[in-house]
Amino acid sequence: MHGRVKLKSTAQQEEEKRKEREKKLKAFVSTRDAVLKKRSAGEQDEEALHLTQLLLSSNPDIATLWNYRREVLLHLETLREKDEVQKLYECELHFIEVCLKVNPKSYGCWHHRTWVNTRLPRPDWTRELGLCDRCLGLDERNFHCWDYRRTVVKESGVSVEQDLEFTERLIGSNFSNYSSWHYRSTLLPRLRPPPPPDSAPDTSPAPSASPQVHSHRVCEEQLLKEYELAHNAFFTDPNDQSAWFYYRWLLGRAEREEMISCVYISREGERVSVAFSKPVHALAVGLMLVLDGQPQRVEWRCAHPRFRHSPVWLCDLPPGSISDMSNEHNLTVHWTEKHTHRDCALYTGCAESWCRDSATDQELFRSELSVEKSSVLQAELESCNQLLELEPQNKWCLLTIILLMRALDPLGHEKETLAHFQSLKEVDPMRSSYYSDLCSKFLIENTILKMEYAEVRVFSLSNKNLTTLCHLDQLLLVTHINLSSNQLVRLPPQFAMLQCLEVLEADDNAIESLEGLYHLPKLEEVSLKNNHICKLSDLESLASCIKLARLDLRGNPVHKTANIESEISQLLPLVTALSL
C-alpha cells in the first residue's frame, strides 16, 4: 500500500465509509467464490472471462485470475476459427489496457499482455509501440512499460538507431529522465562499439553471450557526442543527478585485462604467492604450477580463509625443492582457463624473486577512468570548472572534476583533489563517509604509483585521514608499511595478502580488529600504539605470524585486562619485546 494519505474523518463519514466497504466486500466475495467454483468445476467459458474481468478491472494484481483467464483463452482458441481467435485476443488486449489505467505498474497486467502477443495470430506491433509511447507520456519512469517496450521493439524491427533517437527526444523534453539515460547506456554499445583490440581476435566474445555486457564500451566519436548531450543537461540543471550518473559512466572504460599480475617465490618457507588482476577461485580456474619443467602437485590457499574468491593465492612447494641457495630455478604459473601464464626465475644466491608487470598508472588504477585522449579530457575538465564557478556548491560537479583530474594526472592534481574532497564533505555531509573512503582509495592509488616510480618496497601513508584500506593485492611485495595517524578502524582480512611484510606501523588510529594480521610469514615488528584494541581475543590472529618478535600495544584499552602480560606471553610466546 503506497502513498495513501491517512485522513481525519468524522464518525458519520466513518460509518458511511464502512457501509460502502461492506457492500464492496460482499460483491467481491460473491464474485470470487463464483469464479473459484467455476474453475474447480473445470468450466472454461465466456462467463469465466466475464467474472474474472469484474474482479481484475479493480484489482489487476490477482495473479491467479490472470492464470484462469489464460486457461480459458487457450481452451476457446481450440474451438474457434483464426479470425475469431484474433478478435478474442484483441478484446483481451483492450481489457488489459483498461486494467493498466487502474494500475500502470501491475506486473500481472504487463506479463499477460506479453503472453497475449505470443498467442495473437497477427500481432500489431505498431499499435503496441503506440501504447508504450502513450504510457511513457504519462509516466516516463514506468519501468514495466520500458521493459515491455523492449520486447515490442525487438519484434517490430525498430532499429537501434531509431531507438536512440527516441531516447534523445525524451531526454530533450526532460533531462531528468534517468530511465532514458539508462536505456541509452544499453543502446550505445550495440550501435557504436569501439574498434576491436587489434592484437587479440579471440578475446572479444559475442555481446549477447557475455555476462559482462554492461562493460562494453563506446567508440570515441560517439563518446564526444554523448559528452555534449550530458553537458547540455547538467548546464541546464546542474542539480539533476541523471546526467551526472551517465557522465561518470562515459568516463569509465573496460575492465582490466585478465592476467596473472605477479608471481613471487621465496626460498625461506619454499613458498609461492600469485596475484591476479581480479578475484578468482584458484581451484575453479585451473591453476597449474611448473617448477624446472616439472608440473607440481600443490595445494592452493587463499591469503585469508574468509574468502572463496581472492586476487592473491598461495602455495607451498614440496620440501627441499628450492631450499638450496646454490641452485637456480625456473617457475611458471599457468592460468589454464585464460590461456595465460607467468614465468619467474630464481637465481643462485637469491633468497627470493618475483616477476610482474611493470605497472603504470594506466594499467593499475584507471580501470574506471577514461582512455580518451587527454586533450578531450582536458576540455571536459575546463567546462566542468566553468560550471563550478557558477555553482560552487554543486557536489556533482565537484565529484566529476575530481574524477577528470584523476584521469588526466592523479599525482599532479593531488592537492586540488584533496581540497575538492574537503568541499564535498561540507556541501554534502550526509555522504561524508563515502567521500572519505573514496579519497582514501585515491590516496592509496597515488602512494602505490609513487612507490612504483621509486622502485621501493616501502609503503608510507601516514597522517592522511585514511578511513579504509583497499588495493592490498597491489602490496604483495611490500616489506615496510606505515599507516600511522589515520582514522582506520580495522586491518581487514585482505591485509593478509601482504605476504612480504616485515614491519607494520599503525599507531594513532582507531583500530579495533586485527583480523588481517594472519599468517604473515615475515612479519617481525608491529606497532599499534594508541588504538582501540580491547580484548585479548583481538590479538589471537597474531599467533599465526610465526616471526613476530616485537609488539607495541601502548595506549590500547587491552592493557587493563587482568594478567595481560602473562596472557600475551602465553598467546604469543615468540614475542620478545612487548610494550604495553
Binding site: M1, H2, G3, R4, V5, K6, L25, F28, L36, N59, D61, I62, A63, T64, W66, N67, R70, Y107, H111, R141, F143, W146, D147, N174, F175, S176, Y178, S179, H182, Y183, S185, T186, P211, Q212, V213, H214, T236, D237, N239, D240, Q241, S242, F245, Y246, W249, K278, R306, R308, H309, E368, P429, M430, R431, S433, Y434, L438, K441, P492, P493, Q494
Partner: protein, 331 residues
Amino acid sequence: MGTQVKDVIIKPDSPNTLLLDKHADYIAAYGSKKDDYEYTLSEYLRMSGIYWGLTVMDLMGQLSRMNREEIIDFIKSCQHDCGGISASIGHDPHLLYTLSAVQILSLYDCINVIDVDKVVDYVRGLQQEDGSFAGDKWGEIDTRFSFCAVATLALLGKMDAIKMDKAVEFVLSCMNFDGGFGCRPGSESHAGQIYCCTGFLSVTGQLHQVNADLLGWWLCERQLPSGGLNGRPEKLPDVCYSWWVLASLKIIGRIHWIDKAKLRNFILACQDEETGGFADRPGDMVDPFHTLFGVAGLSLLGDEQIKPVNPVFCMPEDVLQRIGLQPDLLS
C-alpha cells in the same frame, strides 16, 4: 527546467521514539480481522503477508502471540501437487509464496510439515535454459525469482538442485551502467531488484562480481534530505526502499555511506502513534509490509531493542544460525 528534489518534510511533532508495543499490538490484531475489507482484498498475497507479520513479531520478541498451529495448517493446505506453494487456498502456486512459506516454517523450525523434496523439484523445474527463473508455470521472468529460488533452496539446504553457473550468469547479465540491477537484461536499476540480486550473489558466494564502489555510490545517493531513501533517482522516499537500499549496502559492506541518524529519524516518523504500524511515508496509512521493513531497517541501523536481522534473508539472525546459514557479506 530545474528539477525540484522530490522529498517529504518531517513535521516536528512526528514520532521520534520507537513504539514497539503498539506495533506488536497492531500486527497481532491484523490477522484476527479475517472478514475485514483490506484483509480480504489482500488474500492473493496472504502467504507473504503472514511472513511479514511473523518476521516482524519475531524481531520484536513477540512471535509467541501468533497462532502457530493455525498458520502451519494453512501452509500445509497451500502446497500443491507440483510442490509449489500458493498465497492462499484457491490460488495458484508461485515462487514468491513458496519462499514466504519456507521462511515462515524456518521461523517456526518445522520445515518438514511440507513435502520438502517436492518444493525442491518445483524450484528446479522453473529454471530456464538461460539460467533465469520463471515465477510460475506461466513464464514471467524476473531477477526477483532468481533470488526466491536460491533463498528457498538455501533455507532447505538444497543449493545443488539447480544449475548454479547459469543462474549466476543470468543475474550478472542484468547488471547496468550504474552498477545496479534490473528485472531482466536491459532493465533499469531499481533498489528492490538490487536487493534481490546482491542477495542472490551473497547466497551463491559471488559477491566479488559486484562493482561495490560504483553500486554503493548509487545506493547512498538514494538518501534524501529528509533522511529517507528512495528506490530510484528522482523518486519519493519510502520505508520499504529504506530497507532494500540499506540491506543492499550492508551486503556489499558500505552501510556506513549513508547518514544513519537521519534515516532512523525518517523511519521513526513513519510510525502511526494511534494505531501502531509503519506507513511508506509520514502521515500515510500503515500496513504489515512497511511495518516489517521499518522495524528490520531499524535493526540494521543497530537498534538494540530489536533482534539483529539478516540483511539477505530478512529474517532474525538467530533463526539463520540455528539453520547453519551464513550468507557472505563484503567487508
